[in-house]
Structure formats: structure tokens, C-alpha cells
């Protein structure tokens, strides 16, 4: 998908991607995984369908299949909305928390990271002809919903789902102004999310109160989680701050200060629930009885 210039090839790539990921999601083969997989499939299929419609409409109108020349207004709007569905931007975000919650941690990781690359690359390539109004609406809604939705969660996978919604919002806002920043944000987001997921997987934690035992099981994970979560939140001097800073700078120089302010304030909400995770795992030690101490000596039984 990344390298194609013909629309049909791009669409084929998206479809193969979807179809391949579905079995990965249903690996332990219980009801919950299946349900999430079906939800995911339905969403992605609808989105691909709309993309196909946009592609054909565009070729009907402009008689060409080049990836980066989508000239027709209707086509570009439909394309944007469908890509938003694929990425999980608001108001198409409803599937992200449920799907992420239902599947095991590793699959969730792939869902949130690898699956974002393909639609983002398409967005990157059609970015010059996109409609800024739609993008602004999508982005602001995403950051806000991602922020407020994440406040009420106790399951870690849902928290990471809402964080992905919010970060997608940050990425879409800048795609028309300076698309390379989108890619930068994506890369840094992928790195930090991978780190988070892998460290959570190492200690197989899925809830917040499970986090409270991290200092006991493996203290290095504690520190890693601390730094990673703070970076996701976008605190300087950690790396996560860089994309946010550059995005805000780009927005300010193009005189979009209100949007920049709204995005920054919504990022505060994100930071709050990261801080909550850090509070549970690193900053405080939850009460535990003496028999469960020194767990880092032993191998985890799995």
C-alpha cells in the first residue's frame, strides 16, 4: 500500500492487510476475541467499501487512477471520511475501545500500531487536495473525545485505545500543512505504544490495579512504564514532546491558534490518565501482604 501509485493496488493492499490481521486477532479462539474480530472486520470492510466507491467515482470523473491526484470534491470527502473510519477518528471511534479490549495484548498492539501505517500513508499522499474543514473537525473531536473518554477507564487496553484516538487527532490536523510531521508523529507514537504494550505484556497486566504490583514483579518495568507514559503524554524533555511541539508551531505560524490551544488543552486530559497510571505503578506502593513480596526473584508461571 505504501509504495503503490495506482489506486487499485492501494486498495488491494488495504484489503489484504485487513484480512490478514483478522485471524491474528482470534488466536486464543474464545468468544470475546471473535466478537471483537467481527466488529473490526465489519468496520474495516465498510471503510474499504467507501474507499472503493470514492476511487471509482474519481476515475469516472477524472479518468485517471493516480493515487495522489484525487481532484473531485465528493471523492476526496468520501475518501477522508473512510480513512477516518479506518483509523478510528471521532466520530467514527466507537469500535476502537471495544475491539482493543476484546483481543489479547499482542494483537491489540498490532492493531493500534501496524494498522495505522497504511491509511496514514494514503492520507499522506492525498493530503494536498483534502478539505481542511473536515480535517479540523475530525481532529478536534478526536483529541477531545480521546481525552474525556480515557478518564473513566480502568482497563489498560481501553486506555491505550483512547490514547490512540487522541494521537490520531494530532496526526490528522497537520497532514495538510506539513505532512512530514504526520509521519514523524506516527513513528514516535508507534515506538512509544510498542514499548508500552510490550512492557504490559511482559508482566501480563490488563487492569490498573494489576499495575500496582509492578515494583514487586520487576522494578525495571516500573521505570520504563514511567518514562514511556510520560512521553506519550508529551512532556518535555522526553521524545513525545517533539511532535506536539512541532505541530503546534506549524499551526501557530499558519494562524490557527485556537485550534492549537484546543489541541494542547485536550492533551492535558490525556496526560491526566497517564499520570494516574504512573501514580499507581511508580509513585505509590499499594498495600500488599508480606507473602507476596520479592516476586522478582522467581520466574513468572504462565
Amino acid at each position: 500500500t505504501i509504495f503503490s501509485t495506482h489506486w487499485l493496488m492501494a486498495w488491494m493492499g488495504l484489503e489484504i492487510n485487513t484480512l490478514a490481521v483478522i485471524p491474528m486477532m482470534t488466536y486464543p479462539n474464545n468468544m470475546r476475541n471473535t466478537e471483537s474480530a467481527i466488529k473490526y472486520f465489519l468496520m474495516q470492510a465498510t471503510a474499504s467499501m467507501i474507499i472503493m466507491f470514492a476511487i471509482i467515482y474519481n476515475s469516472w470523473m477524472t479518468n485517471q487512477w493516480t493515487l495522489f491526484q484525487v481532484s473531485d470534491n465528493l471523492a476526496i470527502t468520501l475518501m477522508t471520511l473512510a480513512l477516518a473510519m479506518k483509523l478510528g477518528l471521532a466520530p467514527f471511534h466507537f469500535w476502537v475501545p471495544e475491539v482493543t479490549q476484546g483481543i489479547p495484548l499482542m494483537s491489540g498492539m498490532i492493531l493500534l500500531t501496524w494498522q495505522k501505517i497504511a491509511p496514514t500513508s494514503i492520507m499522506f499522499q492525498i493530503s494536498p487536495s483534502m478539505n481542511m474543514n473536515i480535517l479540523i473537525t475530525l481532529a478536534i473531536l478526536s483529541t477531545m473525545l480521546g481525552g474525556w473518554g480515557g478518564l473513566n477507564q480502568t482497563h489498560l487496553r481501553k486506555i491505550l485505545a483512547y490514547s490512540s484516538i487522541a494521537h490520531m487527532g494530532w496526526m490528522t490536523i497537520i497532514v495538510m500543512i506539513n505532512p512530514s510531521l504526520t509521519i514523524l508523529n506516527l513513528i514516535i507514537y508507534i515506538i512509544t505504544t510498542l514499548t508500552t504494550f510490550l512492557s504490559l505484556n511482559f508482566t501480563s497486566m490488563t487492569k490498573i490495579n494489576m499495575l500496582s504490583n509492578t515494583w514487586n514483579k520487576s522494578t525495571s518495568i516500573t521505570i520504563i512504564l514511567l518514562l514511556t507514559l510520560l512521553s506519550l503524554g508529551g512532556l518535555p524533555p522526553l521524545t513525545g514532546f517533539m511532535p506536539k511541539w512541532l505541530i503546534i508551531q506549524e499551526l501557530a505560524t499558519t494562524n490557527n491558534i485556537t485550534i492549537a490551544t484546543l489541541l494542547a488543552l485536550s492533551a492535558l486530559l490525556n496526560l491526566f490518565f497517564y499520570m494516574r497510571l504512573i501514580y499507581v505503578s511508580t509513585l505509590t506502593i499499594f498495600p500488599s501482604n508480606n507473602s507476596s513480596k520479592f516476586q522478582w526473584f522467581h520466574q513468572p508461571t504462565k
Partner: protein, 602 residues
């Protein structure tokens, strides 16, 4: 002649200070101190008759400037006395009345251990009052003004063990103070614009409405016009001689006197004239209404004073300051006498002040009774008694000039109400059967009681004639008017009398009716005191408390800060997460609606 008038008047003023100095020089207690005071005042009165006769004979006025006290940046403050038409006539009258009152209080306060101090207070009061009326510059007038205020405070609170007396004294001082704000406003304006507080300088130039307003506010405070009037009925907590001297003849006329002094200024300013007239009309009507249902004999007389003060203010508003002055002089006589008669009644009935517990005193206290009747008739303006010359002239002048007909109507109604409440006193206190206990020490045998009352009775009867015939005419009397207008005051008064007779006779002949609200309004002073002393400050304090705690503390500091934010965000997040119910159909539906909306817009 010049020397004579100056020296005699200053002598009479100086004689007043002697009793007080006697106490400083000769500290041995003597029983005869009240006697000394009374004799001194008698001397002072006789001495002050000389300037008055000279003035009447020759029209001689003078201004005495003695001594430079200090100077404020090119404005010298002198001690100077202005002996003109007003002060020369007022001083003998004030001294005459005070002489009678001092003699009366020798009988009234006989059993009081602090009688010496009482007399000193009275003399100091008189001294400051005379400073007030003879002042040639405003600072001296202000010294007198404040002096009478302070002495009023000390004298009203004479029986300081009684809470009501203390409250009343404080009330008097506070209301006077509010009036003083107006006075100081005028003084400041004059200092800025005229650079002088001397009356001679001021009368050369004009004063604008603001400065004259200040004088009206001062008069409202000192002379208990409507708005600053509650202190006068409360001041009846003091002993009867105090009420007789201060709050009938001398102190309360100080405000009116100030306005009379400034008559060259007010006669050119129709706004001030109208304001004075309307204020006076409201005052006279309101207090007369309040007087007709009071049950305390001293309060009825106090309201009567207040009503007459309103009448004087109306006269000033008519641009007739000389008539107002005449009314001040005649009013002093019969009002002081009324107070003294009520004092005689009160003391005789063993300190009973409620008229519902008096009655049938006509055969028992003949001199008091006849004096009371004469005084009431003079108050009502019976032809050819003292009050007639001033009051009737005022009403005639009012009826024949281009004035506010509302003020006119109010004054006429108040005149009939005057007759009503006077009749009320006479009926309840003097007529019918006694309603007091059988064993009361009723007598009026003491010469200290009888002589003053008789003296003032003679004054009440003849003073009007004497003053009118001998004072140089300064105003134009209306010479022709229709018969009905000429008789209007008389008709209104007689109607009031008959009505009062009838109504009062109803009280013990017909069955009792239910209490109607008008009676409550009149009895409780129109609820003025309740509103302004209690409700209004309570509302203010509540407002302050609410602003401090609810508005600032609770709202601005808490809700817009931390608590509001926490509430907002938790509410939003819970509503957003509760949208996710897990039903794909709903999700798809929302997606389709979003897509359609975007399609429609783009």
C-alpha cells in the same frame, strides 16, 4: 446708643456664663445653686430687653466683631456677633422662656440628687443656643450648632440608667450628624467659592442650588423634617424641662433659623423654595397624622412641635422668612407652656404619661388645666391669641400666592389635624371621670410651678399682639382676599375640633370597633422607624454576608477553579463513555448520519 446696644447684649450673654464659673471658683456646695441660676437668667433677660426696645424704637442693628481667633490661609476666623432683626428679638424671648423653665424645673427636678448638674447643662445649652443665633460667621454658628447637639444628647440621656433614654439620645445625635453633613457641604462650598464664612460677604454674592441644598439637609436634621424626624419623638425620654426647652422652643428651631438667616439667598432660587415647601408640607402632614393616635401625652406634644416645624418650613418655602420667624417666637411661648402643663400633670399623677390613664383633672388642677386649654387654643390659631398672628398670616399668605396646591392642601389638612390632637389631649387628660388611682398626690400648690405657667400663659395670650405691633414690617401682607379664603384656617380648625369631639366621645359611648390598619399606620409612626432602623440595615448586612461568602468564597474561588473543572470533566467523560454501548448497529447508524451530514454540507 451704639455702645449701649452692644454692651447690654454682650452683658446678657456673659451673665449666662457666671453660674458655671461660680462652680469653678467657689467649690463649696450650696443648696441655693438652682436659685442662683434662675436669678441669673432673670437678670440676663432683663438686660437683653434693652437692645430689643432699642431695636423696636429705632430699628438699630449692629454687628460686633471682637477678636481674631485664627486664620486659615487668608480667611480669618473671627468671633463676631450679629445683632440684627432676628437675633435681637429671639434672644429675649429665649431667655424669658428659659427663665420660666428653670423655675419650673426647680419644682420638677426637686428630688433629683444631680439637680445642680442639670441646671448647669441647661445653662450651657442656652449659652450655645445664643451663640448660634447671634453668630455672624458660619464657624461660630457651627460651634453653637454642635453645642446644642451635644447638650441635647446629654440632657435626653439624663436618666442614663434607662436603655430607652440612651437609645434616644444616640438617635438624636446620629440624626443631627446626618444633618451636619449638609451644613458642612455648604460651608465647604462657601469656602471654595466665596473664600469667606462671614454672612456679610456671603450675602453679596449668590449661592448655587447645591450649597443651599446643604442648608436644607442641615435643617432637615436639626429641625426634624420628614426623613430625619424619628429622633424628636424619641427625645421625649428626657425630663420634661428638657423637652420644654430644647425640643419645643429653641433647639429644633435652629435649623429653621439657619434657613431664615440665609433668606437673601433662597429668595432667588425657586428650586430651593419648592423643595422647602414640599418638605415642610410632607412633614407637617405626616407628623400630624402620627399625633392623632398616640397615647403618650409628651409624644403628642412632640409631634405637635414637629408639625409646627413643618409649617415653618412651608413658610420659608413661600419666601416669607419673617413670618416663619414670628411663628418661631410665638410658638416658643405656647409650646413650652404645653410641655410644662403636661409635666405638672405627669408629676402629679406619680409619673404617669399615658393619657388613657388620666382624666377628670379639670376640677383638680385648675391652673394647669386652664393653661393647657389656652395653650392648645393658641396652637390651633384661635383668633387674637398668640398663635393667631403668625399661623393665620402664614395660611393667608399661602392661600394667596402662586404655590404648589398639593402643599397647600396638605397644610390645610394638617391644620385641622392640629385641632384634632389638641382636642384629644384636652378630652383625655382633663375631661370626664378620672381613670387614675384614687390616692395620687395631686396638687399644684407650689409657687415654683404656678408662676412659670402663669408667666408663659400671659406670654401666649399677649405675645402675638405685642410682637406684631412692634416689629418693623418686613413683608407685604396680602390685603384683599375672598371671605372664604380669609376664614379658611378658622373653618378648618373648627371642623377638626368638632370632629375630634365627636370621635373622642365615641370612645366611651359606643362599642369598640375592630382595629383598622390606618390606626396602626398612624400609631406606629408610619412604620418609618421600623423600616429604617431595622429592616434596611438588616438587608444591607445580609447582602454583605452573601457577597462575601456565597459570591466570592463559594463561587469565584471554588467553583470556577478546582471544583467546577473537576465537575465538568468528570461529567463529560462519564457521558462520553456511556455512549459506548457495544451495539454495532448504532455505531453504523451514527457513521451513516455523519457521512450524510458531511455530504450535505460540502
Amino acid at each position: 446708643m451704639n455702645n449701649l446696644i452692644n454692651s447690654t447684649l454682650l452683658m446678657s450673654i456673659m451673665l449666662l456664663t457666671l453660674p458655671i464659673m461660680l462652680n469653678l471658683i467657689y467649690p463649696y456646695k450650696t443648696d441655693k445653686f438652682p436659685q442662683y441660676c434662675k436669678n441669673m437668667i432673670k437678670m440676663s433677660f432683663l438686660t437683653s430687653l434693652a437692645p430689643m426696645l432699642m431695636f423696636m424704637y429705632q430699628g438699630l442693628e449692629s454687628t460686633v466683631t471682637n477678636w481674631q481667633w485664627f486664620s486659615i490661609a487668608s480667611m480669618p476666623i473671627n468671633m463676631s456677633f450679629k445683632l440684627d432683626y432676628f437675633s435681637i428679638i429671639f434672644i429675649p424671648i429665649a431667655l424669658y422662656v428659659t427663665w420660666s423653665i428653670l423655675e419650673f424645673s426647680m419644682w420638677y427636678m426637686h428630688s433629683d440628687p444631680n439637680i445642680h448638674r442639670f441646671f448647669k447643662y441647661l445653662i450651657m445649652f442656652l449659652f450655645t443656643m445664643i451663640i448660634l443665633v447671634s453668630a455672624n460667621n458660619l464657624i461660630q454658628l457651627f460651634i453653637g450648632w454642635e453645642g446644642v447637639g451635644i447638650m441635647s444628647f446629654l440632657l435626653i440621656g439624663w436618666w442614663y440608667g434607662r436603655t430607652d433614654a440612651n437609645t434616644a439620645a444616640l438617635q438624636a445625635v446620629l440624626y443631627n450628624r446626618i444633618g451636619d453633613i449638609g451644613f458642612i457641604l455648604s460651608m465647604a462650598w462657601l469656602m471654595i467659592n466665596n473664600n469667606s464664612w462671614d454672612l456679610q460677604h456671603i450675602f453679596m454674592t449668590d449661592m448655587n442650588t447645591l450649597a443651599l441644598m446643604g442648608l436644607i439637609i442641615a435643617a432637615t436634621g436639626k429641625s426634624a423634617q420628614f426623613g430625619l424626624h424619628p429622633w424628636l419623638p424619641s427625645a421625649m425620654e428626657g425630663p420634661t424641662p428638657v423637652s420644654a426647652l430644647l425640643h419645643s422652643s429653641t433647639m429644633v428651631v435652629a435649623g429653621i433659623f439657619l434657613l431664615i438667616r440665609f433668606y437673601p439667598m433662597t429668595k432667588n432660587n425657586p428650586t430651593i423654595l419648592t423643595m422647602a415647601m414640599c418638605l415642610g408640607a410632607i412633614t407637617t402632614l405626616f407628623t400630624a397624622i402620627c399625633a392623632i393616635t398616640q397615647n403618650d401625652i409628651k409624644k403628642i406634644v412632640a409631634f405637635s412641635t414637629s408639625s409646627q416645624l413643618g409649617l415653618m418650613m412651608v413658610t420659608i418655602g413661600l419666601n416669607q422668612p419673617h413670618l416663619a420667624f414670628l411663628h418661631i417666637c410665638t410658638h416658643a411661648f405656647f409650646k413650652a407652656m404645653l410641655f410644662m402643663c403636661s409635666g405638672s400633670i405627669i408629676h402629679s399623677l406619680n409619673d404617669e404619661q399615658d393619657i388613657r390613664k388620666m382624666g377628670g383633672l379639670l376640677p383638680i388642677l385648675p391652673i394647669t388645666t386652664s393653661a393647657l386649654t389656652v395653650g392648645s387654643l393658641a396652637l390651633m390659631g384661635t383668633p387674637f391669641l398668640a398663635g393667631f398672628y403668625s399661623k393665620d398670616s402664614i395660611i393667608e399668605a399661602m392661600n394667596t400666592s402662586y404655590v404648589n396646591s398639593w402643599a397647600l392642601l396638605m397644610t390645610m389638612v394638617a391644620t385641622s389635624l392640629t385641632a384634632m390632637y389638641s382636642m384629644r389631649i384636652i378630652y383625655f387628660a382633663l375631661l370626664n371621670q378620672p381613670r387614675f388611682l384614687p390616692l395620687s398626690p395631686l396638687n399644684e400648690n407650689h409657687p415654683n410651678l404656678i408662676n412659670p405657667i402663669l408667666r408663659l400663659a400671659i406670654g401666649s395670650i399677649f405675645a402675638g399682639y405685642i410682637l406684631t405691633m412692634n416689629m418693623p414690617p418686613m413683608y407685604i401682607t396680602p390685603t384683599t382676599m375672598p371671605m372664604s379664603t380669609k376664614l379658611s384656617a378658622l373653618i378648618v380648625t373648627i371642623m377638626g375640633l368638632l370632629l375630634a369631639l365627636e370621635l373622642n366621645a365615641l370612645t366611651n359611648k359606643l362599642p369598640l370597633k375592630n382595629v383598622i390598619h390606618t390606626h396602626n399606620f398612624s400609631n406606629m409612626l408610619g412604620y418609618f422607624t421600623h423600616l429604617f432602623h431595622r429592616s434596611y440595615p438588616m438587608a444591607n448586612l445580609h447582602l454583605g454576608q452573601h457577597i462575601a461568602t456565597m459570591l466570592i468564597d463559594l463561587n469565584w474561588f471554588e467553583k470556577t477553579g478546582p471544583k467546577g473543572q473537576a465537575n465538568l470533566h468528570s461529567h463529560l467523560s462519564s457521558s462520553i463513555t456511556s455512549l459506548q454501548k457495544g451495539m454495532i448497529k448504532t455505531y453504523f447508524l451514527s457513521f451513516i448520519i455523519s457521512i450524510i451530514m458531511v455530504m450535505l454540507i460540502i
